[in-house]
């Protein structure tokens, strides 16, 4: 982008103002390629399915697939060309950085683009005809989107529209004068360009970062940048324009030092931006996207006047524990402490004073009712078989599922909880495809609507399901942790056969999980809660679905149902459970990954005896509790009649004697007499 100089519509001395207004320019392609891939995957899928559906012969299907692949690559080439060529119009969108969506992990880009596409589409357009934003990229606070020319007018009309609580501005972008970077060296660097000056700048910045980073303490000290001799030598602060681009560039160089996001996230816990004369965070705002998991942040000795000067970080740094704003005008504000406590729920120290205790933080997380493994009471494996068949069928053959276990009396309803809590820093795609069917009784109060949104009978349900987006649920066997499935018998169901006037027994099944929704080119991840009642009937396996009630909500992860584990060192007797008798393990409920466990271990499989599955699950549990290998865990359990409590007790005794052998602790004679010993190789390698 060496050619792109000056700001649009201005010349000479006003350059700087224009640049400054747009903010810093890290020119990162907004996953343009990824979007294209998604698009082409859809094309491929569609074509492949369609063609193989028509053809009978296997070689015809092969032809079709090859055709699909080759046409797919053509499509991709076209898109690439389109994105760079002159066929598309470019529009600058600003204001979204102030929206609530900016706290999403991607800075709100995905939802912004979804928002724009929705607004660009005619009100009643189907998924296939919706307006597309072919390509987009971020430059500072600006999102530059490429759209087909006929959408330009509508796009410019979106100026002033509110997105997630913030007004947007849209203006046409002229690529010939629109280069936002007027300093070739930095601009090339910010784009990862390969020119020698860029490489040189990058090297210099890497050196500076190296001097300012302490690996042991995971501290990145970016204080007093204005007096850094190396930076002064580079002429960074010679002009406001380079200054405003410097920090994003520095962050970019920092990111380039890491192979992957995980390593980058783990490298830094503390950042100091003290003594930088900052009146607001505009110049340094990229810190939040580069190092989002900061625990300690020193902003002392700056010029922040009020909360507004930090507002861009209102929803950032969700793990912040220590914040120093000493010697800033803001810290004298009477609302200072309350505001910061509110913004940062994990904040423990503010201006070096403890504002929350560790207990208070822990109490936030604590559930008064401990989270236990799923309660799954399904003696004849009816629910287990049903759930497995159902979700595979719902993804691949909804009609087949309906024909097999839904009948004329089955009821299906769905409701959308549009405001459900979500997993941190995820975002929610629009609910258009469902909202007109949603039977949230808090919102749907008129009787006719309540009636029309209940679907009774397999045919009506089929009609509805055909209109709902395609889904892909995770495989229960390979991703059990993403599911929580509970089940128990209930009485009083209607007896379809009419033989029992007092009702019949059935099963109440509650499933919580996630699914990918495949809607055109987009794949959205959502969470769901689905309650089924199944009873005896004329369907496959002698059952029928009485009720199927689906609740959809934003993706909320699966951490909430990971059982709270007992203290790390198991006691001789397991802690008295609050209320529950030990529930039998669910078919899909083993959140602990034990290294070395063979695939499918602890999971039911065709031809595998129930007792074996149960024993394997006990072994996994034992191994998880004791860190012993599967082999030793199995020995401990089988030697104690598969009684977990006895095996744990025995383990405690043996472990003590092991520690005696290793001279880790003095031991009483009687413990030395405990039967048997555990060799060190009985244990799994130390946890990483």
């Amino acid at each position: 982008m060496k050619g792109g100089k000056g700001s649009r519509g201005r010349s000479g001395g006003s350059d700087r103002g224009g640049i400054r207004k747009r903010g810093a320019a890290t020119r990162v392609d907004r996953e343009g390629d990824l979007m294209m891939d998604a698009g082409s995957a859809r094309n491929r899928g569609k074509k492949g399915r369609g063609d193989s559906g028509r053809s009978q012969a296997a070689n015809k299907a092969m032809d079709a697939i090859q055709k699909a692949i080759s046409s797919n690559s053509d499509t991709q080439a076209n898109i690439r060309q389109g994105g760079r060529g002159s066929g598309l119009e470019q529009v600058i969108v600003r204001g979204w950085k102030q929206s609530k969506a900016a706290s999403n992990r991607d800075g709100g880009l995905e939802s912004l683009i979804a928002f724009l596409e929705k607004k660009l589409s005619p009100p009643d357009s189907k998924a296939g005809t919706r307006a597309r934003i072919t390509k987009s990229r971020v430059e500072g606070d600006a999102l530059i989107v490429s759209i087909r020319p006929e959408l330009l007018e509508r796009m410019l009309q979106l100026n002033g529209f509110s997105f997630a609580g913030a007004p947007l501005t849209t203006e046409k972008y002229d690529p010939s004068t629109g280069g936002l970077l007027d300093q070739p060296m930095l601009s090339a660097m910010a784009q990862n360009g390969g020119t020698s000056s860029a490489a040189e700048t990058k090297a210099k910045m890497t050196t500076i970062l190296g001097k300012r980073y302490t690996q042991q303490t995971k501290l990145l000290d970016l204080s007093k940048l204005g007096t850094d001799p190396d930076l002064l030598a580079m002429g960074i602060f010679g002009s406001t324009s380079t200054e405003s681009k410097f920090f994003p560039a520095l962050m970019k160089v920092w990111e380039l030092n890491f192979d992957n996001a995980t390593a980058r996230r783990e490298a830094v816990e503390s950042v100091s931006l003290a003594h930088n004369q900052l009146a607001n965070i505009t110049a340094v705002t990229t810190l939040a996207s580069t190092i989002p998991d900061l625990k300690n942040l020193d902003l002392s000795n700056n010029e922040f006047k009020d909360a507004q000067s930090l507002i861009g970080w209102r929803w950032k740094f969700r793990n912040l524990e220590f914040l120093d704003l000493s010697n800033t005008p803001f810290s004298a504000d009477p609302t200072f402490k309350d505001t910061m406590l509110k913004w940062y729920p994990k904040l423990r120290f503010l201006n070096n004073v403890e504002v929350r205790t560790a207990e208070e933080i822990a109490a936030q997380k604590k559930t008064p009712i401990p989270v236990q493994p799923p309660h799954f009471q399904d003696d004849s494996q009816i629910a287990e078989n049903f759930v497995r068949a159902f979700f595979a069928g719902y993804d691949n053959d909804r009609s087949g599922i309906l024909s097999s276990v839904y009948d004329n009396h089955t009821t299906f309803t769905l409701n959308v909880n549009t405001s459900a809590p979500r997993a941190q820093q995820t975002e929610t795609a629009p609910w258009d495809a469902y909202i007109k069917k949603s039977r949230n009784l808090l919102k749907i109060s008129h009787l006719p609507a309540r009636m029309s949104r209940a679907y009774t009978g397999a045919e009506k349900i089929r009609e509805l399901w055909t209109s709902l987006p395609a889904t892909r649920h995770p495989d229960i066997a390979t991703h059990p942790e993403e599911w929580l499935i509970e089940c128990y018998p209930i009485p009083g169901l209607p007896d379809i056969s009419g033989q029992s006037s007092t009702g019949v027994g059935g099963l109440l099944i509650m499933v919580h999980g996630k699914f990918d929704e495949i809607n055109g080119a987009k794949v959205e991840t959502r969470s769901f809660d689905r309650t089924f009642i199944i009873g005896p009937g004329g369907g496959m396996g002698g059952i029928r679905v009485v009720s199927d009630l689906l609740c959809l909500r934003a993706y909320g992860g699966h951490e909430a149902w990971i059982p709270e584990v007992p203290p790390a060192v198991p006691q001789a007797a397991p802690p008295a459970a609050a209320a529950a008798p030990a529930a039998p393990a669910a078919p899909a409920a083993l959140p602990v990954a034990i290294p070395g466990a063979p695939e499918g271990y602890g999971m039911p499989a065709p031809g595998k005896a129930d007792t074996q599955v149960q024993q394997e699950q006990l072994v996994l549990q034992m191994s998880s509790n004791t860190r012993m290998t599967l082999q030793y865990s199995e020995m401990a359990l089988s030697g104690n009649g598969w009684n977990m409590e006895a095996a744990l007790k025995n383990f405690e005794e043996l472990k003590v004697s092991l520690e005696c052998v290793l001279h880790l602790r003095p031991c009483a004679n009687k413990l030395l007499q405990a039967q048997g010993t555990l060799p060190p190789d009985a244990f799994l390698p130390a946890a990483v």
Binding site: K342, P368, N417, T418, R422, I490
Partner: protein
């Protein structure tokens, strides 16, 4: 008696669900001494995060003695009729189909919302999903002259999901 119309069935069931939700969750928040009165006797199963609780009295005991102030926000509710000729128990057994009225039904109610354990508004909002089956209250009168609850919890399963 002619079978009740679909309109009536929908009205009775959906009103039962919303009325229940609008009285039960406030009771969990600040009227905990009434919690037991929401449960039928006997109940089928009561689960909180996988912990089985014996009956309504035990639920009330937990909320009265062990739970910090708790705020529930119900965000979505839906219901379905399970059995529109529910065999409501009577003193002489259960109602026969010829004796049932429109209110002799069992209703599946599913609630989605969030809960905050503790008083501060800054505490995290934990998403929950809760499934109930409501059945008619067979007793003629409410406790001590109060209006009786028309619907009682036959089974309940609460789960934190976010």
């Amino acid at each position: 008696m002619a079978p009740p119309s679909e309109d009536t069935l929908t009205k009775v069931s959906t009103d039962a669900a919303t009325d229940f939700v609008q009285s039960f969750y406030p009771a969990l928040e600040n009227n905990r001494s009434t919690i037991a009165s929401f449960y039928s006797q006997p109940t089928a199963m009561i689960l909180f995060n996988g912990n089985a609780v014996a009956d309504g009295a035990a639920v009330q005991e937990i909320f009265v003695n062990q739970m910090s102030p708790t705020h529930y926000e119900v965000q979505s509710v839906d219901c379905q009729i399970i059995n529109k000729a529910y065999p409501t128990p009577t003193s002489t057994g259960v109602k026969l189909p010829t004796e049932t009225t429109v209110k002799d039904m069992s209703i599946l109610v599913v609630v989605s919302g969030y809960v905050r354990f503790g008083e501060s508004r800054d505490l995290p909002q934990r998403g929950f999903s809760e499934t109930f089956v409501l059945v008619p209250n067979p007793s003629a009168d409410g406790p001590k002259g109060k209006r009786k609850r028309e619907w009682l919890i036959q089974t309940q399963n609460f789960r934190l999901v976010v």
